[in-house]
Amino acid sequence: MTASAPPLTRSASNLNSYVARNAKALAGLGVVVVALIVAYRWDGTQTTAVMARTVREAAPLILAALCGLVGERSGIINIGIEGQLLLSAFCGFMVGSYSGSIILAVVAALAVAGLAGTFLAWTSIRLRMDQIIAGTVINIFAIGATSFFYVPNRTMATIPTVSLGFLSDVPLVGPMLFDHGPLTYAALVAVAVVHVALFETRWGLRTRAVGEHPSAADTVGVDIFRLRYLNLTLAGMLAGLGGMALIQSAGVFNRGMSNGKGFIALAVMLIGRYRPTGVLAAALLFGFFNALQAQLQFKQVFDIPPQFFGMIPFVLTIAVLAIAGISVRPPAAVGKHYEKE
């Protein structure tokens, strides 16, 4: 590209290269859109119900998977997401329940999950603890602490859904994207924010460098340890939002209510190949399978035992992976302790 090229051609060529780079993803998106239109024409009510639920179910997974993604991109494995979800759901619920303030509840959830992230960074950097062990410590601690301090029969105010004006009235797309609880929107916004931050900003470049090649980053003056502390704390806050997303519609906390979602989020992160857009797609896919099985079961379309419906999301996820044969390459420095020269 020469400097004298007119702006119009330039943007057109940018668009071309964008299309070329993302051909598969765009083709997939096209198929999904066509399928949605066909399904909507076939049965509008059902399709709308399933798709709205898809997005709702995906939200906590998106946030939790982004938490894992930011951690691993910075070079630290986080298998404590399950614990972070549980701790933040619990603390958010307790604070919300006693104070009556949803804002305070969210602050508490962010604080506790962020702190767990800081803990993970600290154990890795200062104590040189194995990161799998550190994550497991968070998980077990979360199960114990949230059950120990559990108070039965409490409720908190449910977080109301926010309809985005006329947008929410658009058929299919409205209920799907513009008629949700605030934390569902937060999940969708987080995908865009993390994507842009990771690939378009100085922070993102440094983060990726620290995850791939820390000694190179160190050489050019990036404070690796400070960045890891910061990123793991911020990532924890994403999981904190995920924990709030778990309790936003029901307004209750149950023991062990994260129910493996933190681990499913790890799967979502791997399927999404450590990319925010990939995470979005994988979480939506999983959410869709879940929504579909719930709707089929609810409507009793087929005379099949509910347990078989319950298996659908998990079997399909494995099948999709086995057929697509996706292999994942994690950031190169993940899990390794960095020795400062």
Binding site: I77, T123, L127, R128, M129, D130, Q131, I132, I133, A134, T136, V137, I138, N139, I140, F141, I143, G144, A145, S147, F148, F149, Y150, G256, G260, F263, I264, L266, A267, L270, I271, P305, Q307, F308, G310, M311, P313, F314, V315, T317, I318, L321, A322, G325, I326, S327, V328, R329, P330, V334, G335, K336
Partner: protein
């Protein structure tokens, strides 16, 4: 290494002590006396032969669950499907237990082995998916946990083939025949002896056999292993199969020795506990036994503790988390006790780098 031997023993004990101190703080916060609570826990786990029997019973699936995770780690695989594998093992051993009429010498081993094999198929499937299709074992074993939970629940549900006809609305299998009942040998639960035998076998397998050597080679460097003529696919499938067999055996022993039948969703924490124990034992098969005994004793004692003091039994999870933390962070223990820096104990565990090797 110039690590004095006494530290290898003393550091874990200090970790347990510090874990108990953190637990004591929680107990005080909730308005109870930690000394009374811990005394009850000790009595409930070690005070008399009944209590000791309970501890051994609790420790049995923990030994096997810990072995399952520890063995898979040797090949660089992270099996977090212990829960699903345990459920399959439990359900299938119950089926052999109630459905067949055999002499005990055949019935018991048959039920245990069928339970273990059912789980091994599930684990082997995860291994096969990994080796041939590149599906990460963390993903597949998590997903298969949910599949196994749903499947076993259906088998004993209203329309399921293994439903107890006398159970009414309760989803469960019939009781296993007397001939499939695991007896006690000299007051010890047979299941625990089986678990110890499994631990010794796995230790031998890992450290003394060709297969073990191949497993460890694949774990440390799959490319080098392939170059040396080891079939990485075969090793991954076998490792996941053996790992799952162990978890399934844990479920089978729990069914035949303790519960007497299969009910859905029991032992829901085993997947986590297996990871904890494998890590506490630093993936050494023999060290899994004391680690499981420790957690099992806490489990067994927590009931009496709750009865005497109203302390929620889940406090033991917090204590376990702290023990794991202190075991993995000897520098914190040294700092608290102001011990000398020079002689550091290498934890000898490097699990995190095993993550994501495909």
């Amino acid at each position: 290494m110039t690590v004095p031997n006494w530290r290898m023993v003393v550091m874990p004990l200090l970790a347990v002590a510090f874990g108990l101190i953190v637990g004591a703080v929680l107990i005080v916060v909730s308005g109870d006396n930690p000394l009374v609570a811990y005394r009850a826990m000790l009595e409930g786990s070690l005070g008399g032969s009944d209590a000791i029997g309970r501890t051994l019973e609790k420790a049995t699936p923990l030994v096997l669950g810990g072995l399952a995770v520890a063995f898979a780690f040797k090949a660089g695989l992270f099996n977090i499907g212990g829960q699903g594998q345990l459920l399959l093992g439990a359900a299938f051993s119950a089926w052999v237990g109630f459905n067949f009429d055999l002499p005990a010498v055949i019935h018991i081993p048959a039920a245990l082995i069928v339970g273990g094999l059912a789980a091994a198929i599930l684990g082997g499937l995860a291994g096969l998916l990994k080796a041939t299709r590149g599906v990460h074992e963390v993903i597949s074993t998590i997903m298969l946990n949910f599949v196994a939970a749903n499947f076993t629940e259906w088998m004993v549900s209203r329309d399921g083939p293994w439903k107890d006809p006398e159970g009414g609305a309760i989803a469960r299998t019939p009781l296993v025949q007397d001939s499939a009942d695991l007896p006690r040998i000299a007051g010890l639960p047979t299941g625990f002896l089986v678990a110890v035998l499994a631990a010794v076998s796995i230790w031998w397998l890992v450290n003394r056999s060709t297969l073990g050597f191949e497993v460890k080679t694949v774990g440390s460097n799959p490319k080098a292993a392939a170059y040396a003529g080891i079939s990485v696919t075969r090793i991954i499938v076998i490792t996941m199969g053996i790992s799952a067999f162990l978890a399934g055996l844990g479920g089978a022993i729990q069914t035949l020795g303790v519960n007497g039948r299969f009910e859905p969703g029991f032992q829901t924490g085993l997947g986590f506990d297996g990871i904890t124990i494998a890590l506490l034992a630093r993936t050494n098969a023999l060290a899994v036994i004391p680690a499981a005994l420790l957690i099992g004793a806490m489990d067994a004692g927590s009931t009496l503790m709750q009865a005497r003091t109203n302390v929620e039994p889940e406090v033991i999870n917090v204590i376990q988390a702290m023990i794991l933390f202190f075991v993995a962070a000897p520098s914190v223990v040294r700092w608290i006790l102001q011990l000398s820096e020079a002689e550091d104990v290498d934890t000898g565990v490097d699990l995190a780098t095993g993550w994501g090797t495909t």
